[in-house]
Symmetry: C2
Subunit: 426 residues, 2 copies
């Protein structure tokens, strides 16, 4: 269960209800148009699960328990979602299942360090690229082919490789030629909205996560939202739109170290979806910032409190950490002033820090604050949270009159890159 | 060697020279006043080194090579600097030296996970807190005392514990009572400016880093700046000040995965120093964002390119990665369009991506872009980079007419936290 709270009205009472029904209808229309696939992908649970189950059943290496490492080669939307979930739910997955690793960057020091621990016999490599020609991904894939002397077409190789890409892409054609197992990304689901397609689900399933519950969580939020039980999302979107561009930075302040990569996933979703030219040609966009509590109370909080009032802050916390780890009842000479937390759970301290920081911002009365609280950290809540942020992003895109699901701004850099290599521009 | 480049004038020609001498004089005055200690701490190299050498010489556990882990218990300015350097220069330290670990957050899942690998016999714990009563730090320290059955006052315990704090603080008094080894932070050096004091140097030295070269690098930049050889820094500060608040977000886009924690260090330094009420009572501040290239080309770049023109972007790259890892000359069927990078070093690819992205932003003509390029990744350059950002922060603080070195905005949250626990407010 997730509890949502909102204190925006303490800052300004604008837009309490105005436009809520209209926004809801627009979101529903976008969903029902079928043009944007993430809305309904979770309704195809059986189909998604059956394809993965069939793959696992037919892979003899997996059946024999020989696989220790699932290595994802992918960048951006091809890695951030699974990486976030892997970090968040690591303690909740099957402990005997293989571990997940991610090769994203063409930093040579990083590639060597990351690959130093993998034995080919214990590893399945998953190459993920929507377009099929992402330069980081294909380059690292080539490096792996050479390093591990992978023979394409070889029977054993087929069990060691998986490709996830758009159907008909160059990478798909490559996979077909060498009979490599392939999963496709629905064409109408963009990379940063693809975590609950096979892009995220295949690596997570192979690594022992309960992907069914993830989907169930997202599905439950979908149903609830479209049954008008989550109108707080619409109010929030309308508020953020009406107060743009004064409040143009959105902070997600998550009180658990495990949310670090989830923050990265949020930053991509929000930044890349909403940083656009609108239909009138104006540059719009909200800048996402991911913080970890309480660590970033010692880093970024001062700026939020006393700096320009251009930020909204969403607090994210886990009510029950399901941990008994507590601060011992030890009183140290001269440090008695810290004893007030003795005998309390560490989780009580971090949650009290979250509440205290939230209150300190609310009292300012010029910082819009809202809260998202998990009862527990589990697959269902994480699935729901993903769907919540995807819906919120769609809502913002509709209000901004932008094309939420593309990323035209990154093409120029890719073009210039090719010009820097002989033969790159052919 | 570090090369600095700047393309701000393509966006606006404001403030080319005006105020440069004045700003320089103000910085020099601040340095010479002696009120702000980080400026000159690097001039006390011998004193800093000798204290650490004496400690190492007298610790029998270190001498016997029994220590495998140096565990820092500290948060914010007490950990971010050493953590950044540890990540950046890990391949450059003595390979036989102990590894560094950081316990920062009171997230119970994180504490248990982090402590699962340490054997007491192989570990030195360093407790760092400027005030001496940081609640996260003292709470984790108590947990460690209990978990490892540490007997305060015991002879062996003395060799396993180090305290780094302000002289006269409660933690200092505690250390003195139990004869625990203690290093002090100069009172006039704030936490986020303390990486080149014993706060950063002690853990780094124990973990086999060449702290002398770190200081030498910072010292060289200090000398060069005060000899007026680095006026680009003054120009940059004046530009950022004159263009505030239109350009109010500063992106540091570092093209190497190893810079991740350095970005965190920068975010604290910039955000906490500059997010302030100025002398007229106005809220000012620049919002820092740390990105990693090329990964975040697939995440945040779209927002920079097409979103609101409220950002400046500083690119950071390493000219020579000293790596021979290259993309093999393998042509994959249907993926021939990616072959233009074959046979090139991975470092050439990541650097070309940096250059291409930089050029794509410069061509926009409404995004201020500058570049920082290391010839190599080494201790001297990292030391210089730290001093560069510290000086730039001081310059901005002077121009904003703010109190750069305090953080009054975080006190309210600390007060509310205490109210949440019985006995907290005594």
């Amino acid at each position: 269960m997730i509890h949502f709270s909102n204190y925006y009205s303490l800052v300004s009472k604008e837009a309490e209800d105005e436009g809520v029904d209209d926004l809801y209808e627009k979101i529903r229309n976008e969903k029902e148009s079928g043009k944007i696939g993430y809305y309904t992908i979770v309704e195809r649970k059986q189909e998604l699960l059956e394809a993965i189950e069939a793959y696992i059943k037919n892979n003899t290496l997996l059946k024999k328990g020989k696989i220790r490492n699932i290595v994802v080669i992918g960048i951006g939307g091809s890695s951030l979602g699974a990486k976030a979930i892997d970090r968040l739910l690591h303690n909740k997955k099957k402990s005997t299942a293989p571990d997940l690793y991610f090769l994203e960057n063409c930093d040579p020091l990083n590639i060597r360090e990351s690959l130093s621990n993998f034995h080919k016999k214990e590893t399945i490599f998953i190459v993920i690229s929507k377009s099929g020609t992402t330069i980081e991904t294909t380059s690292i894939f080539k490096y792996i082919i050479k390093k591990y002397a992978i023979k394409l077409g070889d029977k054993k190789t087929k069990e060691r490789l998986i490709v996830i890409t758009d159907s008909g892409s160059p990478l798909s054609k490559f996979a077909k030629k060498y009979s490599i197992a392939e999963f496709n990304i629905p064409k109408n689901v963009g990379g940063r909205f693809s975590v609950l397609t096979h892009v995220g689900l295949v690596p997570l399933a192979l690594a022992g996560f309960n992907i069914e519950k993830l989907i169930d969580g997202a599905r439950a939020f979908e149903n609830s939202f479209f049954a008008r039980e989550q109108d707080h999302l619409l109010h929030k979107a309308i508020y953020l739109n009406k107060n743009y561009p004064v409040k143009r930075i959105n902070v997600l302040f998550a009180y658990a170290s495990l949310f670090t990569y989830f923050n990265d996933w949020f930053v991509q979703l929000w930044g890349e979806s909403l940083g656009k030219k609108d239909i009138a040609g104006n540059s719009v966009g909200l800048t996402p910032v991911g913080l970890t509590g309480s660590v970033d109370q010692h880093s970024f909080l001062q700026l939020i409190m006393d700096g320009p009032k251009d930020k909204s802050v969403t607090f994210l916390k886990i009510e029950n950490f399901e941990s008994t780890t507590h601060i011992p009842d030890i009183s140290l000479d001269f440090l008695e002033s810290t004893d007030y937390v003795n005998n309390h759970l560490f989780s009580d301290l971090i949650n009290a820090q979250c509440d205290a920081t939230m209150e300190s911002l609310i009292r300012q009365k010029d910082i819009p604050v809202d809260g998202i609280c998990f009862d527990k950290l589990n697959h269902k809540n994480v699935g729901a949270l993903i769907y919540y942020f995807e819906l919120l992003t769609s809502a913002m895109g509709i209000l901004f009159h932008i094309s939420t699901y593309d990323q035209p701004g990154v093409e120029l850099g890719k073009q210039i890159l090719k010009e820097k290599f002989p033969g790159g521009n052919q």
